[in-house]
């Protein structure tokens, strides 16, 4: 880290205001990096759930398989809700950068509604499967399915709680630098959930339907 960077002679940090800005950026970059490490470890945990599911997918114990249980149009609707919520979440972060209350809170509310709609669809799907006798205890395949998809659903639930917390914090404390850093982390978290959902709908639903 030494030497090479110190050769520039026209540094923007000569002024105090720039200096303070660079201090804040230093914090933001480090906080983002730390949270990114957490997200990657979360993704590694999910990869273990994915591996368990992939290993157990054919162990149906004479019970229903993915092909009997999954409805692709239903899954497409879930996917659309979550993808749009990721988009509105990014919109909310731009609103926060622009310090626009209306923009930020509208986009966050839209994110909440879309995320809650996704969650409602998932809960309904789970309840439907359990009512058909295809609960997590029916076969190893279904245990793997409920663990993997349920773990993602749990993350979405926690994300929704965090979302409400962030709306309240921005409302109460404004766009302070520490609040902005929390918003950055929330954004990363919500987008990471969508990345995991891409894996879920591909590996679980689309491949399950294809088999």
């Amino acid at each position: 880290m030494s030497g090479a960077q110190a050769t520039g002679n026209d540094y923007p940090l000569a002024h105090t205001a720039d200096h303070a800005a660079a201090e804040l950026l230093t914090k933001r970059i480090i906080v983002g990096f730390g949270f990114w490490i957490f997200l990657l470890s979360d993704i590694i945990m999910f990869s273990a759930f994915f591996a368990a599911y992939a290993v157990l997918v054919n162990q149906t114990a004479g019970g229903p398989s993915g092909r009997d249980l999954f409805h692709l149009p239903y899954v497409a609707l879930e996917t659309a809700f979550l993808l749009l919520s990721s988009f509105t979440c990014g919109f909310a972060s731009i609103g926060a950068w622009k310090r626009s209350d209306l923009w930020f809170h509208t986009a966050m509310a839209a994110t909440f509604v879309l995320g809650a709609a996704f969650l409602a669809l998932e809960v309904h799907e789970f309840a439907d499967m359990i009512a058909q006798g295809a609960g997590p205890t029916r076969s190893a395949f279904l245990s793997g399915f409920f663990s993997l998809v349920g773990c993602h659903g749990l993350h979405v639930t926690l994300g929704l709680l965090w979302l409400l917390t962030m709306m309240a914090q921005v409302y109460a404390k404004g766009y302070r630098p520490d609040i902005m850093r929390r918003l950055l982390c929330f954004n990363l978290f919500w987008h990471a959930l969508d990345i995991i959902w891409v894996g879920v709908f591909t590996v679980v639903y689309l491949m399950g339907d294809w088999q």
Partner: protein
């Protein structure tokens, strides 16, 4: 960290890479970037759902196509939503991501490889239980 405004000051190198370059343009998030990301992600999602049901191609190629589409969509999300860039402020994020991808691939490929092998080699264990173990099918 105070008094570290100049490269020769003590503590200057406590700064993460990219902190100086970003002064003045704090966020790379723009509305066009999100729109492009949403468009690409939507296209790839639709492609995935179409490919899963299509009868136009050789069927065993479909899982491969689905995996490729999923990885492409994850890339779109990383670039346009999470804003992983090649900029200096993202160097450490990219390195951590590379390591994370390595571990994920090891867990997935390793589990599938070992368990497929075991399933194949032990497929008729319970039928010929007291007999000698089949060495290789």
């Amino acid at each position: 960290m105070s008094g570290s405004g100049h490269p020769t000051d003590p503590g200057y190198h406590d700064r993460p890479p990219g902190a100086d370059e970003l002064v003045g343009h704090e966020t790379s998030a723009t509305i066009p970037a999100y729109l492009v990301g949403l468009g690409l992600a939507t296209l790839l999602t639709i492609a995935s759902f179409v490919v899963a049901r299509t009868t136009l191609v050789w069927q065993p190629s479909i899982p491969v196509a689905l995996v490729v589409l999923a990885i492409a969509q994850m890339g779109v999300h990383l670039v346009f939503f999470i804003h992983i860039t090649t900029g200096p402020d993202n160097t450490n994020n990219v390195m951590a991501l590379a390591f994370g991808v390595l571990i994920v691939l090891l867990i997935l490929a390793g589990s599938l490889w070992i368990m497929t092998n075991m399933n194949r080699n032990m497929a008729n264990m319970h039928q010929s239980m007291p007999m000698e173990m089949p060495i290789r099918q």
